[in-house]
Amino acid sequence: MIDTDDRKEIVFPGDIVEKGELNMRNGVFRSVDGSYRSQFFGIVQKGDEFVDVVPFHGTYVPRRNDKVIGKIIDIGPSMWTVDIKSPYMTMLHMNDTPWKLNSGEIKRAIGVGDYVYAKVQTVNEVKESWITLKEPGLGLRKLEGGHIIYVPAPKVPRIIGKAGSMVNMIKDATNTRIVIGQNGLIWIEGQIEGVLKATSAIELIKSMAHTNGLTDRMMEFLKIEKKGEE
Protein backbone atom coordinates (compact mmCIF):
# COMPACT_ATOMS: atom_id res chain seq x y z
CA MET A 1 0.00 0.00 0.00
CA ILE A 2 1.32 3.38 -0.94
CA ASP A 3 -0.05 6.87 -0.54
CA THR A 4 -0.99 9.08 -3.43
CA ASP A 5 2.24 11.07 -3.25
CA ASP A 6 3.88 7.98 -4.64
CA ARG A 7 1.77 8.09 -7.75
CA LYS A 8 3.23 9.38 -10.95
CA GLU A 9 1.11 11.65 -13.09
CA ILE A 10 -1.10 9.70 -15.49
CA VAL A 11 -1.88 11.37 -18.82
CA PHE A 12 -4.18 10.57 -21.74
CA PRO A 13 -3.68 11.11 -25.47
CA GLY A 14 -4.05 14.82 -26.23
CA ASP A 15 -3.50 15.98 -22.63
CA ILE A 16 -1.17 18.95 -22.13
CA VAL A 17 2.20 18.01 -20.61
CA GLU A 18 3.96 20.78 -18.63
CA LYS A 19 7.64 20.86 -19.41
CA GLY A 20 8.83 23.45 -16.93
CA GLU A 21 12.56 24.01 -17.33
CA LEU A 22 13.07 20.64 -18.95
CA ASN A 23 13.18 19.54 -22.58
CA MET A 24 10.54 17.37 -24.16
CA ARG A 25 11.75 14.04 -25.49
CA ASN A 26 9.60 10.94 -26.18
CA GLY A 27 5.86 10.41 -26.29
CA VAL A 28 4.79 14.01 -26.80
CA PHE A 29 3.84 16.11 -29.82
CA ARG A 30 3.59 19.81 -30.51
CA SER A 31 -0.03 20.77 -30.96
CA VAL A 32 -1.24 23.45 -33.41
CA ASP A 33 -1.79 25.78 -30.43
CA GLY A 34 1.91 25.48 -29.52
CA SER A 35 1.39 23.34 -26.43
CA TYR A 36 3.07 19.98 -25.85
CA ARG A 37 0.64 17.13 -25.59
CA SER A 38 0.82 13.45 -24.78
CA GLN A 39 0.63 10.86 -27.55
CA PHE A 40 -0.18 8.11 -25.12
CA PHE A 41 -2.17 6.87 -22.23
CA GLY A 42 0.76 6.56 -19.85
CA ILE A 43 2.83 8.30 -17.22
CA VAL A 44 4.91 11.47 -17.24
CA GLN A 45 8.53 10.84 -16.34
CA LYS A 46 10.66 13.84 -15.43
CA GLY A 47 14.41 13.34 -15.32
CA ASP A 48 17.22 15.85 -14.75
CA GLU A 49 17.05 17.04 -18.32
CA PHE A 50 14.09 15.56 -20.14
CA VAL A 51 10.38 14.92 -19.89
CA ASP A 52 9.02 11.71 -21.43
CA VAL A 53 5.57 10.22 -21.62
CA VAL A 54 5.87 6.45 -21.26
CA PRO A 55 2.86 4.40 -22.39
CA PHE A 56 1.58 1.48 -20.31
CA HIS A 57 1.55 -0.74 -23.38
CA GLY A 58 3.14 -0.35 -26.76
CA THR A 59 4.86 -1.81 -29.74
CA TYR A 60 8.62 -2.23 -29.90
CA VAL A 61 10.36 -0.57 -32.84
CA PRO A 62 14.03 -1.55 -33.20
CA ARG A 63 16.82 1.00 -32.68
CA ARG A 64 20.46 0.48 -33.55
CA ASN A 65 22.53 -1.05 -30.70
CA ASP A 66 19.49 -2.28 -28.75
CA LYS A 67 20.01 -5.72 -27.25
CA VAL A 68 16.95 -7.85 -27.97
CA ILE A 69 15.67 -11.39 -27.59
CA GLY A 70 14.19 -12.87 -30.74
CA LYS A 71 12.56 -16.11 -31.78
CA ILE A 72 13.58 -17.80 -35.01
CA ILE A 73 10.49 -18.15 -37.19
CA ASP A 74 11.94 -19.07 -40.60
CA ILE A 75 15.19 -20.29 -42.14
CA GLY A 76 16.59 -19.50 -45.58
CA PRO A 77 19.82 -20.76 -47.17
CA SER A 78 22.01 -18.17 -45.45
CA MET A 79 19.83 -16.27 -42.99
CA TRP A 80 17.16 -16.60 -40.35
CA THR A 81 13.97 -14.57 -40.01
CA VAL A 82 13.54 -13.51 -36.39
CA ASP A 83 10.49 -12.35 -34.47
CA ILE A 84 11.52 -9.56 -32.10
CA LYS A 85 7.92 -8.36 -31.54
CA SER A 86 8.38 -5.49 -33.98
CA PRO A 87 5.92 -4.84 -36.80
CA TYR A 88 8.83 -4.90 -39.22
CA MET A 89 10.98 -7.73 -40.59
CA THR A 90 14.13 -8.71 -38.67
CA MET A 91 16.91 -10.93 -40.02
CA LEU A 92 20.10 -12.61 -38.86
CA HIS A 93 22.75 -13.51 -41.46
CA MET A 94 25.03 -16.54 -41.01
CA ASN A 95 28.10 -14.30 -41.23
CA ASP A 96 26.86 -12.42 -38.15
CA THR A 97 27.20 -15.48 -35.93
CA PRO A 98 30.31 -16.74 -34.14
CA TRP A 99 30.18 -20.01 -36.11
CA LYS A 100 31.59 -21.07 -39.50
CA LEU A 101 28.48 -22.17 -41.39
CA ASN A 102 27.84 -23.25 -44.95
CA SER A 103 24.94 -21.91 -46.93
CA GLY A 104 22.00 -24.34 -46.74
CA GLU A 105 23.08 -25.92 -43.46
CA ILE A 106 22.45 -23.12 -41.02
CA LYS A 107 19.55 -24.78 -39.24
CA ARG A 108 22.08 -27.08 -37.57
CA ALA A 109 23.21 -24.06 -35.58
CA ILE A 110 19.84 -22.46 -34.81
CA GLY A 111 16.43 -23.95 -35.56
CA VAL A 112 12.90 -22.62 -35.85
CA GLY A 113 11.54 -21.95 -32.36
CA ASP A 114 14.96 -21.25 -30.85
CA TYR A 115 15.64 -17.97 -29.12
CA VAL A 116 18.67 -15.72 -29.53
CA TYR A 117 20.01 -12.80 -27.53
CA ALA A 118 21.31 -10.40 -30.16
CA LYS A 119 22.26 -6.81 -30.88
CA VAL A 120 20.47 -4.67 -33.45
CA GLN A 121 23.20 -3.91 -35.97
CA THR A 122 21.37 -1.90 -38.61
CA VAL A 123 17.88 -0.52 -39.13
CA ASN A 124 17.08 0.51 -42.68
CA GLU A 125 14.82 3.31 -43.93
CA VAL A 126 11.73 1.10 -43.81
CA LYS A 127 12.55 -0.02 -40.25
CA GLU A 128 13.63 -3.54 -41.21
CA SER A 129 16.51 -4.58 -39.02
CA TRP A 130 19.53 -6.88 -39.03
CA ILE A 131 20.73 -8.36 -35.78
CA THR A 132 24.11 -9.87 -34.88
CA LEU A 133 25.49 -12.45 -32.44
CA LYS A 134 29.06 -11.61 -33.24
CA GLU A 135 30.07 -8.81 -30.90
CA PRO A 136 32.09 -10.27 -28.00
CA GLY A 137 31.70 -9.19 -24.39
CA LEU A 138 27.94 -8.59 -24.52
CA GLY A 139 26.81 -12.16 -23.85
CA LEU A 140 25.15 -12.43 -27.27
CA ARG A 141 24.24 -16.04 -27.98
CA LYS A 142 21.70 -18.70 -28.73
CA LEU A 143 19.67 -19.13 -25.53
CA GLU A 144 19.70 -22.76 -24.39
CA GLY A 145 17.05 -24.04 -22.00
CA GLY A 146 15.33 -21.63 -19.68
CA HIS A 147 11.94 -19.99 -19.88
CA ILE A 148 10.73 -16.96 -21.87
CA ILE A 149 8.23 -14.38 -20.69
CA TYR A 150 7.04 -11.12 -22.22
CA VAL A 151 6.42 -7.64 -20.85
CA PRO A 152 5.49 -4.58 -22.92
CA ALA A 153 8.70 -2.91 -24.12
CA PRO A 154 7.92 0.41 -22.35
CA LYS A 155 8.18 -1.37 -19.00
CA VAL A 156 11.63 -2.84 -19.56
CA PRO A 157 13.57 0.01 -17.85
CA ARG A 158 11.57 -0.53 -14.65
CA ILE A 159 12.39 -4.23 -14.63
CA ILE A 160 16.08 -3.53 -15.08
CA GLY A 161 16.07 -0.79 -12.43
CA LYS A 162 18.80 1.79 -11.83
CA ALA A 163 22.07 0.27 -13.03
CA GLY A 164 20.46 -3.17 -12.99
CA SER A 165 19.49 -3.00 -9.31
CA MET A 166 16.02 -4.45 -9.72
CA VAL A 167 16.88 -7.42 -11.90
CA ASN A 168 19.96 -8.23 -9.82
CA MET A 169 17.86 -8.32 -6.71
CA ILE A 170 15.47 -10.81 -8.37
CA LYS A 171 18.35 -12.95 -9.66
CA ASP A 172 19.93 -13.15 -6.21
CA ALA A 173 16.71 -13.87 -4.36
CA THR A 174 15.54 -16.57 -6.78
CA ASN A 175 18.90 -18.05 -7.74
CA THR A 176 18.21 -17.67 -11.45
CA ARG A 177 19.97 -16.31 -14.50
CA ILE A 178 17.99 -13.60 -16.28
CA VAL A 179 18.55 -11.93 -19.66
CA ILE A 180 16.34 -8.97 -20.58
CA GLY A 181 15.80 -7.87 -24.17
CA GLN A 182 14.92 -4.24 -24.72
CA ASN A 183 12.03 -5.48 -26.85
CA GLY A 184 10.32 -6.93 -23.77
CA LEU A 185 11.22 -10.61 -24.07
CA ILE A 186 12.91 -11.95 -20.93
CA TRP A 187 14.81 -15.23 -20.54
CA ILE A 188 14.93 -16.87 -17.12
CA GLU A 189 16.95 -19.98 -16.30
CA GLY A 190 17.26 -21.98 -13.10
CA GLN A 191 15.35 -24.46 -10.93
CA ILE A 192 11.62 -24.46 -11.71
CA GLU A 193 10.66 -22.95 -8.34
CA GLY A 194 13.16 -20.13 -8.82
CA VAL A 195 11.97 -19.48 -12.37
CA LEU A 196 8.34 -19.34 -11.23
CA LYS A 197 9.23 -16.98 -8.38
CA ALA A 198 11.22 -14.70 -10.68
CA THR A 199 8.32 -14.77 -13.15
CA SER A 200 5.83 -13.63 -10.54
CA ALA A 201 8.25 -10.92 -9.36
CA ILE A 202 8.44 -9.57 -12.91
CA GLU A 203 4.66 -9.81 -13.30
CA LEU A 204 4.35 -7.70 -10.17
CA ILE A 205 6.64 -5.02 -11.55
CA LYS A 206 4.70 -5.13 -14.80
CA SER A 207 1.48 -4.30 -12.98
CA MET A 208 3.06 -1.57 -10.83
CA ALA A 209 5.60 -0.07 -13.21
CA HIS A 210 3.89 3.33 -12.94
CA THR A 211 4.35 3.66 -9.17
CA ASN A 212 7.24 4.88 -7.08
CA GLY A 213 8.79 2.92 -4.23
CA LEU A 214 8.96 -0.19 -6.37
CA THR A 215 12.34 -1.35 -5.06
CA ASP A 216 11.12 -1.39 -1.47
CA ARG A 217 8.05 -3.27 -2.41
CA MET A 218 10.01 -5.81 -4.42
CA MET A 219 12.32 -6.42 -1.46
CA GLU A 220 9.30 -7.06 0.65
CA PHE A 221 7.76 -9.35 -1.97
CA LEU A 222 10.88 -11.47 -2.34
CA LYS A 223 11.26 -11.75 1.41
CA ILE A 224 7.66 -12.83 1.84
CA GLU A 225 8.18 -15.48 -0.80
CA LYS A 226 11.21 -16.78 1.10
CA LYS A 227 9.30 -17.02 4.34
CA GLY A 228 6.59 -19.02 2.59
CA GLU A 229 9.16 -21.62 1.69
CA GLU A 230 10.35 -22.32 5.19
Partner: protein, 246 residues
Protein backbone atom coordinates in the same frame (compact mmCIF):
# COMPACT_ATOMS: atom_id res chain seq x y z
CA UNK B 1 -37.25 5.57 -40.41
CA UNK B 2 -40.28 3.40 -39.68
CA UNK B 3 -43.89 4.31 -39.40
CA UNK B 4 -45.13 5.90 -36.17
CA UNK B 5 -46.82 3.42 -33.85
CA UNK B 6 -49.71 4.07 -31.48
CA UNK B 7 -47.19 4.13 -28.66
CA UNK B 8 -46.34 7.64 -27.48
CA UNK B 9 -42.57 8.00 -27.43
CA UNK B 10 -42.62 11.23 -25.39
CA UNK B 11 -45.18 11.86 -22.65
CA UNK B 12 -46.91 15.08 -21.60
CA UNK B 13 -44.06 15.87 -19.16
CA UNK B 14 -41.50 15.65 -21.94
CA UNK B 15 -40.14 12.34 -20.64
CA UNK B 16 -39.25 9.48 -22.94
CA UNK B 17 -40.38 5.83 -22.77
CA UNK B 18 -37.41 4.87 -20.60
CA UNK B 19 -37.95 7.89 -18.35
CA UNK B 20 -35.13 10.02 -19.74
CA UNK B 21 -35.34 13.75 -20.39
CA UNK B 22 -34.54 15.04 -23.90
CA UNK B 23 -30.81 15.56 -23.28
CA UNK B 24 -30.17 12.55 -21.05
CA UNK B 25 -27.86 9.68 -22.00
CA UNK B 26 -28.59 6.03 -21.38
CA UNK B 27 -26.27 4.44 -18.78
CA UNK B 28 -22.75 3.92 -20.22
CA UNK B 29 -20.04 1.67 -18.82
CA UNK B 30 -16.66 0.93 -20.37
CA UNK B 31 -14.07 -1.60 -19.19
CA UNK B 32 -10.57 -2.21 -20.59
CA UNK B 33 -8.33 -5.27 -20.85
CA UNK B 34 -11.29 -7.58 -21.26
CA UNK B 35 -9.38 -9.89 -23.63
CA UNK B 36 -6.15 -11.77 -23.09
CA UNK B 37 -4.75 -12.09 -26.60
CA UNK B 38 -5.43 -8.66 -28.05
CA UNK B 39 -2.86 -5.86 -27.74
CA UNK B 40 -5.62 -3.65 -26.38
CA UNK B 41 -9.31 -4.22 -25.69
CA UNK B 42 -12.42 -2.58 -24.36
CA UNK B 43 -16.01 -3.50 -23.75
CA UNK B 44 -18.76 -0.93 -23.80
CA UNK B 45 -22.26 -1.30 -22.43
CA UNK B 46 -24.40 1.59 -23.57
CA UNK B 47 -28.09 1.16 -22.83
CA UNK B 48 -28.74 -2.35 -24.13
CA UNK B 49 -25.73 -2.26 -26.45
CA UNK B 50 -22.98 -4.68 -25.58
CA UNK B 51 -19.90 -4.33 -27.78
CA UNK B 52 -16.38 -5.77 -27.52
CA UNK B 53 -13.46 -4.11 -29.31
CA UNK B 54 -10.01 -5.67 -29.79
CA UNK B 55 -6.94 -3.94 -31.20
CA UNK B 56 -4.03 -5.80 -32.79
CA UNK B 57 -0.95 -4.01 -34.04
CA UNK B 58 0.69 -2.11 -35.47
CA UNK B 59 1.69 -5.26 -37.36
CA UNK B 60 2.85 -6.13 -40.83
CA UNK B 61 0.18 -5.06 -43.33
CA UNK B 62 -1.26 -8.03 -45.17
CA UNK B 63 -1.92 -8.55 -48.04
CA UNK B 64 1.06 -6.51 -49.09
CA UNK B 65 -0.75 -4.36 -51.66
CA UNK B 66 -2.76 -2.81 -48.82
CA UNK B 67 0.43 -1.31 -47.36
CA UNK B 68 0.83 2.44 -47.36
CA UNK B 69 4.48 3.46 -47.49
CA UNK B 70 3.74 6.69 -45.60
CA UNK B 71 1.56 5.52 -42.75
CA UNK B 72 -0.20 2.74 -40.87
CA UNK B 73 -3.53 1.61 -42.28
CA UNK B 74 -6.36 1.29 -39.78
CA UNK B 75 -8.65 -1.63 -40.58
CA UNK B 76 -11.79 -1.61 -38.50
CA UNK B 77 -14.11 -4.57 -38.89
CA UNK B 78 -17.60 -4.06 -37.50
CA UNK B 79 -19.43 -7.35 -37.09
CA UNK B 80 -22.79 -8.24 -35.58
CA UNK B 81 -23.16 -11.51 -33.71
CA UNK B 82 -25.92 -13.72 -35.14
CA UNK B 83 -27.83 -13.39 -31.85
CA UNK B 84 -27.31 -9.63 -31.39
CA UNK B 85 -30.61 -8.56 -32.96
CA UNK B 86 -34.27 -9.60 -32.68
CA UNK B 87 -34.29 -11.76 -35.77
CA UNK B 88 -31.22 -13.98 -36.17
CA UNK B 89 -28.68 -12.36 -38.46
CA UNK B 90 -26.79 -14.54 -40.90
CA UNK B 91 -23.10 -14.47 -39.95
CA UNK B 92 -20.69 -12.56 -42.14
CA UNK B 93 -20.43 -9.05 -43.52
CA UNK B 94 -23.35 -7.37 -45.25
CA UNK B 95 -23.44 -4.00 -47.03
CA UNK B 96 -24.36 -2.16 -43.83
CA UNK B 97 -21.49 -3.56 -41.78
CA UNK B 98 -19.02 -2.91 -44.60
CA UNK B 99 -20.08 0.73 -44.71
CA UNK B 100 -19.92 1.13 -40.95
CA UNK B 101 -16.46 -0.49 -40.88
CA UNK B 102 -15.29 2.04 -43.45
CA UNK B 103 -16.55 5.17 -41.69
CA UNK B 104 -15.20 3.91 -38.34
CA UNK B 105 -11.75 3.23 -39.87
CA UNK B 106 -11.69 6.71 -41.33
CA UNK B 107 -12.77 8.41 -38.12
CA UNK B 108 -10.10 6.60 -36.07
CA UNK B 109 -7.41 7.41 -38.63
CA UNK B 110 -8.02 11.10 -37.91
CA UNK B 111 -6.96 10.59 -34.29
CA UNK B 112 -4.15 8.04 -34.56
CA UNK B 113 -0.60 9.21 -35.39
CA UNK B 114 -0.49 6.80 -38.29
CA UNK B 115 2.65 8.34 -39.80
CA UNK B 116 4.73 6.75 -37.01
CA UNK B 117 4.23 3.22 -38.36
CA UNK B 118 4.48 3.24 -42.17
CA UNK B 119 3.65 -0.02 -44.01
CA UNK B 120 1.82 -1.52 -41.03
CA UNK B 121 -1.81 -2.11 -40.22
CA UNK B 122 -3.70 -1.61 -37.01
CA UNK B 123 -6.66 -3.97 -36.75
CA UNK B 124 -9.72 -2.88 -34.80
CA UNK B 125 -12.11 -5.81 -34.45
CA UNK B 126 -15.57 -4.83 -33.26
CA UNK B 127 -18.10 -7.45 -32.19
CA UNK B 128 -21.63 -6.30 -31.47
CA UNK B 129 -22.86 -8.88 -28.98
CA UNK B 130 -26.20 -7.14 -28.43
CA UNK B 131 -27.47 -4.24 -30.53
CA UNK B 132 -29.74 -1.55 -29.10
CA UNK B 133 -29.48 1.55 -31.39
CA UNK B 134 -26.38 3.68 -31.77
CA UNK B 135 -23.95 0.80 -32.24
CA UNK B 136 -21.62 2.66 -34.58
CA UNK B 137 -20.88 5.54 -32.23
CA UNK B 138 -20.70 3.21 -29.23
CA UNK B 139 -18.20 1.08 -31.20
CA UNK B 140 -16.17 4.12 -32.13
CA UNK B 141 -16.15 5.43 -28.56
CA UNK B 142 -14.94 2.05 -27.28
CA UNK B 143 -12.43 1.62 -30.15
CA UNK B 144 -10.75 4.85 -29.14
CA UNK B 145 -10.35 3.50 -25.60
CA UNK B 146 -9.02 0.16 -26.88
CA UNK B 147 -6.44 1.98 -29.02
CA UNK B 148 -5.22 4.01 -26.03
CA UNK B 149 -5.16 0.79 -24.01
CA UNK B 150 -2.95 -0.81 -26.70
CA UNK B 151 -0.44 2.05 -26.42
CA UNK B 152 -1.14 3.32 -29.94
CA UNK B 153 0.00 6.97 -30.27
CA UNK B 154 -2.95 9.31 -30.76
CA UNK B 155 -3.33 13.05 -30.81
CA UNK B 156 -6.84 12.91 -29.38
CA UNK B 157 -9.75 10.66 -28.44
CA UNK B 158 -12.67 10.00 -30.75
CA UNK B 159 -15.97 10.26 -28.93
CA UNK B 160 -19.40 9.92 -30.43
CA UNK B 161 -23.11 10.20 -29.74
CA UNK B 162 -26.38 10.39 -31.64
CA UNK B 163 -29.28 12.78 -31.56
CA UNK B 164 -32.49 12.77 -33.52
CA UNK B 165 -36.02 13.99 -33.80
CA UNK B 166 -38.81 12.11 -32.10
CA UNK B 167 -42.42 13.28 -32.27
CA UNK B 168 -41.21 16.70 -33.36
CA UNK B 169 -38.70 17.10 -30.52
CA UNK B 170 -34.92 16.96 -30.70
CA UNK B 171 -33.59 14.34 -28.29
CA UNK B 172 -30.19 12.89 -27.43
CA UNK B 173 -29.03 9.27 -27.71
CA UNK B 174 -31.95 7.57 -29.44
CA UNK B 175 -33.26 4.33 -27.97
CA UNK B 176 -34.26 1.42 -30.19
CA UNK B 177 -37.93 2.46 -30.37
CA UNK B 178 -36.98 6.07 -31.03
CA UNK B 179 -34.60 4.95 -33.74
CA UNK B 180 -37.29 2.78 -35.35
CA UNK B 181 -40.18 5.20 -35.10
CA UNK B 182 -38.49 8.61 -34.90
CA UNK B 183 -38.22 11.15 -37.67
CA UNK B 184 -34.48 11.72 -37.87
CA UNK B 185 -31.24 10.10 -36.72
CA UNK B 186 -27.90 11.92 -36.55
CA UNK B 187 -24.87 9.92 -35.41
CA UNK B 188 -21.79 12.05 -34.98
CA UNK B 189 -18.25 11.66 -33.63
CA UNK B 190 -15.64 14.30 -32.87
CA UNK B 191 -12.05 14.61 -31.81
CA UNK B 192 -12.59 15.34 -28.15
CA UNK B 193 -10.25 18.31 -27.63
CA UNK B 194 -10.46 20.10 -30.98
CA UNK B 195 -14.13 19.34 -31.56
CA UNK B 196 -13.43 18.49 -35.21
CA UNK B 197 -16.08 16.24 -36.72
CA UNK B 198 -14.69 12.88 -37.87
CA UNK B 199 -17.95 11.05 -38.45
CA UNK B 200 -21.34 12.41 -39.37
CA UNK B 201 -24.24 10.61 -40.96
CA UNK B 202 -27.87 11.55 -41.00
CA UNK B 203 -31.16 10.23 -42.23
CA UNK B 204 -34.70 11.44 -41.86
CA UNK B 205 -35.78 15.04 -41.78
CA UNK B 206 -34.42 17.97 -39.75
CA UNK B 207 -34.82 21.72 -40.08
CA UNK B 208 -31.62 23.75 -39.85
CA UNK B 209 -32.63 24.89 -36.37
CA UNK B 210 -33.28 21.32 -35.26
CA UNK B 211 -29.92 20.28 -36.71
CA UNK B 212 -28.15 23.01 -34.73
CA UNK B 213 -29.80 22.02 -31.51
CA UNK B 214 -29.07 18.31 -32.14
CA UNK B 215 -25.40 19.10 -32.72
CA UNK B 216 -25.25 21.26 -29.57
CA UNK B 217 -26.73 18.38 -27.55
CA UNK B 218 -24.20 15.93 -28.99
CA UNK B 219 -21.25 18.24 -28.34
CA UNK B 220 -22.29 18.66 -24.73
CA UNK B 221 -22.78 14.90 -24.30
CA UNK B 222 -19.34 14.04 -25.71
CA UNK B 223 -17.77 15.80 -22.69
CA UNK B 224 -19.63 13.49 -20.32
CA UNK B 225 -18.87 10.41 -22.44
CA UNK B 226 -15.19 11.31 -22.58
CA UNK B 227 -15.00 11.30 -18.78
CA UNK B 228 -16.25 7.70 -18.90
CA UNK B 229 -13.51 6.88 -21.45
CA UNK B 230 -10.82 8.29 -19.17
CA UNK B 231 -12.15 6.58 -16.07
CA UNK B 232 -12.30 3.24 -17.88
CA UNK B 233 -8.60 3.45 -18.75
CA UNK B 234 -7.35 4.65 -15.40
CA UNK B 235 -9.60 2.44 -13.26
CA UNK B 236 -7.27 -0.50 -12.95
CA UNK B 237 -4.26 1.66 -12.12
CA UNK B 238 -6.20 3.31 -9.32
CA UNK B 239 -7.10 -0.09 -7.94
CA UNK B 240 -3.43 -0.96 -7.64
CA UNK B 241 -2.81 2.31 -5.86
CA UNK B 242 -5.41 1.33 -3.30
CA UNK B 243 -3.48 -1.83 -2.61
CA UNK B 244 -5.69 -4.19 -4.61
CA UNK B 245 -3.85 -6.34 -7.07
CA UNK B 246 -5.36 -8.01 -10.07
Amino acid sequence: MGTPSDKKLIDENGLRLDGRGPDELRPIRIRTDVLERADGSAMIEWGGNKIIVAVYGPREAYPKHTQDIERAVIKARYNMAAFSVDERKRPGPDRRSVEISKVISEALTAAVMVEQFPRTQIDVFIEVVQADAGTRIASLTAASVALANAGIPMKDFVVGCTAGRVEGKVVLDLSKEEDNFGQADLPMAVLQKSGEVVLIQMDGELSKEEFDSAVAMIMDATKRIHEIQRNALVEKYQNIEAGGEE
